[in-house]
Amino acid sequence: MTTSNFNWFLHVMLFYHTRHVIEQQNIKKTSGIEEEKDEEDTEDTGDDIA
């Protein structure tokens, strides 16, 4: 990877990381829902009928 590609790639990734962090903060602020709750896995069999 050339230096210029490295620089650009790293800059983009840090930019996206920052934007992602700020978006997550805004979502938390507006919805008040903890991120952990979204990521909870549930033991779902996939069946609609018990």
Binding site: F6, F9, H11, L14, F15, H17, T18, H20, I22, Q25
Partner: protein
């Protein structure tokens, strides 16, 4: 052999069973489709007129049509229930299947469902589902999407309905309506490409490949600016052309005859960010997931096109944050685009998205005095030293540290007898912190001493273009001016050194199996022992001089400044070491004004940075008035016993309340108040891990 034949013949019923298995009609293979209903439009129109309200809209009619064509499995089930084969089966024209579809359609239409009925229809709300079901059943039969003939004979299961014949014609064209050049009038744009010259390209929209898509080009006849879907080409006064990368582009060109929409290009960037996918990994994923399942003559996606999509999308994304359209010289190669884009949009490593960012995690209301002042040693650390004695300082200035502990006890007694009521300040100010850390990432630069320019060739060159030219054909061993032998990088005298280098770096040892199998920093007995310099974080870095220029130098690390909430403020590459001087220079370049400086800067080697700043005068000149340097907790518990400066000035969360803005009071389950850290100083740990993964996949 004979015995085998006899056995087979004697078990011939088994063979007949196997043959019978092959004769049973099988489920349609994946990919087989039923053509889209091709009935005359007049028939369809008549059905709509006869069955639906006169004010039904086009979108509602199309919704009903596609509800039928997208549910062939349900139509199969419904039709089977209408045609019983066994005595105990009951024919039902109003099956549960069609009622289910009618209910789904009703929900989708909302208030528009009343358009499905004619004025003359008088239907109770309870019978509406049945009535809609009858209309859907009738439409399915009119469209010939019914697997039985007029005699009730099964004609074969309906397969998924192909929508290929109703795909719209795609055209890639500029999204500007008029000429947008400021110095020109908003004239209409004319299509300039001759019919025979109109390029036919492949267009990927989302995950669907469209072939043979024409690309049209517009031109302002006054200012001669050329408009394409993703860019404008502007002629400057000196006759050169500038390319404007339009942030509003709907489609992006990522190959000679390949265009993609922004959904695709966004997916590429997000995949690299979220999955740490390399261009090759994403190419494999996309080709296996989407290209393989689409018929056509388009070529597979290449990793170069994925990189092009990444660059084109990211350039626009970051330019949007800066509220500009990137303008570069027209016709640049993709490597030059990234170089120019970084010089214009990179802002020397400042992250535009973090500009003016504040949140509850990275700012705390300023406090003049602590909520709780205790008699703990000033070197006691929140979360570590509750209910235990702090280890004493050993060595130089131990007496000063003991005096400070005694003074803290006296201050606590004084504070308890004279409680200082903090007045509410109408102009509430805030305390901020920045966390600084580095990650060792290998990125190459010129091997020449003190030159960090880009390599002339990133695949094999050791010098930048300037030093490559300067050094010419001289031996690559330092201070040797003899001509090198052709095919090598050394003169005759230094051939031994060169051969040793080749042996160590050839494919089989360096880049081959060893790199794949070996863990980082692992040293196995059969491998050549390489002397790595270990740089303790609290000691000054040592400049190591190499004796040759066979390989390029590598940057030592990437340093990042982060807010405690995880927002990255800036980054920089350090060429030789994470030295305190480099850190101070980096901090000063980012925080050039007093107002912008944070109140605290947490660095894992803050004590060393502070010591250097005091010695070189930066402390008095820049930081003393605004900022304090603190170390992280892990550093502090180890270093406070040996270093007085670190113990006294760099405590990240003093338990005795001597730094009221670094600790906040919380209450435990039993109602007891306790101190916890006001800022998260471990935020860069995770970021560094992620960055390392990202970079390792791409280098």
């Amino acid at each position: 052999m004979l015995s085998i034949l006899c056995t087979i013949l004697s078990n011939c019923h088994v063979i007949w069973f196997i043959i019978a298995l092959f004769l049973i009609p099988r489920v349609a293979a994946q990919g087989e489709e039923t053509p889209f209903p091709d009935i005359p439009f007049k028939l369809f129109s008549s059905f709509v007129k006869e069955n639906f309200g006169s004010k039904i809209t086009l979108s509602q009619v199309l919704l009903v049509l596609f509800t039928i064509t997208d549910n062939p499995d349900l139509l199969n089930l419904h039709a089977r229930q209408q045609n019983p084969r066994f005595p105990d089966e009951r024919a039902s024209s109003d099956s549960g299947w069609i009622r289910g579809l009618a209910r789904a359609l009703q929900e989708k239409l909302g208030d528009g469902q009343k358009m499905l009925f004619k004025k003359a229809d008088t239907i109770d709300s309870g019978d509406q589902i049945t009535a809609i079901g009858e209309k859907l059943d009738g439409l399915a039969k009119a469209l010939k999407l019914y697997p039985y003939d007029n005699h009730g004979q099964f004609q074969g299961k309906l397969k998924p309905i192909s929508h290929a014949s109703i795909q719209p014609a795609q055209v890639v064209c500029p999204n500007a309506v008029v000429c947008e050049t400021i110095t020109c009038n908003p004239r209409s744009l004319v299509q300039i490409t001759k019919v025979r010259d109109i390029p036919r390209v492949t267009l990927i929209k989302g995950s669907i490949i469209h072939e043979n898509v024409p690309v049209l080009t517009g031109k302002c006849s006054q200012c001669k600016t050329i408009y394409l879907a993703d860019r404008e080409r502007v002629m400057e006064s000196d006759g050169r052309y500038t390319r404007v990368y339009l942030n509003s582009a709907k489609y992006l060109k990522i190959g000679q005859s390949l265009w993609v929409d922004r959904v695709f290009s966004n997916a590429v960037v997000n995949a690299m960010f979220s999955f740490h996918a390399s261009t090759s990994a994403y190419k494999e994923f996309w080709n296996n997931s989407f290209w393989n399942h689409q018929q056509g003559n388009s070529r597979k996606l290449s990793h170069r096109q994925v990189w092009q999509a990444f660059v084109q999308e990211s350039v626009r994304s970051i330019a949007s944050a800066s509220e500009i359209n990137l303008e570069l010289q027209d016709g640049l190669a993709i490597n030059d685009v990234t170089k120019q884009a970084y010089s214009i949009l990179g802002e020397n490593g400042l992250i535009r998205a973090a500009d003016q960012h504040t949140c509850q995690e990275c700012t705390q209301p300023y406090k003049k005095t602590a909520d709780i002042i205790t008699g703990d040693d000033p070197a006691a650390l929140v979360g570590m030293d509750e209910n235990r004695n702090v280890p004493a300082l050993v060595g130089e200035n131990a007496d000063l540290a003991a005096d400070a502990a005694e003074q803290a006890r006296e201050d606590a007694v004084h504070a308890a007898s004279n409680p200082d009521q903090e007045m509410a300040d109408p102009n509430v100010s805030y305390t901020t912190m920045a966390v600084v850390d580095g990650i060792v990432i290998s990125s190459q630069h010129c091997a020449y001493d003190d030159c960090t320019s880009e390599l002339a060739n990133s695949r094999g060159a050791a010098f930048c273009a300037y030093h490559e030219h300067l050094h010419g054909a001289k031996c690559r061993v330092k201070n040797c001016n003899v001509q090198k032998i052709a095919g090598t990088q050394a003169c005759e005298e230094h051939q031994g050194q060169w051969n040793k280098h080749v042996q160590r770096h050839k494919q089989q040892t360096q880049a081959g199996a060893r790199r794949m199998l070996q863990r980082q920093n692992q040293s196995l007995p059969w491998q050549p022992s390489i002397q790595h310099t270990h740089q303790p974080h609290d000691e000054a870095s040592v400049d190591i001089q190499r004796d040759n220029y066979f390989t390029p130098n590598r940057f030592y690390c990437v340093e990042t400044i982060c807010a405690p909430c995880g927002v990255v403020i800036a980054w920089a590459k350090f060429a030789k070491s994470e030295s305190p001087t480099n850190i101070l220079n980096f901090l000063e370049s980012v925080y050039s004004t007093e107002d912008s400086r944070p109140d605290y800067i947490c660095i894992d080697k803050a004590c060393l940075v502070l010591r250097t700043a005091i010695v070189n005068g930066d402390w008095d000149r820049v930081w003393k008035k605004t900022t304090r340097f603190i170390v992280d907790a892990y550093h502090y518990i180890n270093h406070r016993t040996t270093d007085y400066l670190c113990r006294k000035w760099c405590n990240p969360a003093p338990l005795n309340g001597s730094a009221p803005n670094l600790v906040i009071v919380d209450t435990d389950g039993e109602g007891n108040q306790y101190y916890k850290r006001a800022f998260n100083t471990q935020v860069l740990y995770l970021l560094c891990k992620v960055l390392k993964l990202l970079i390792m996949t791409l280098i």
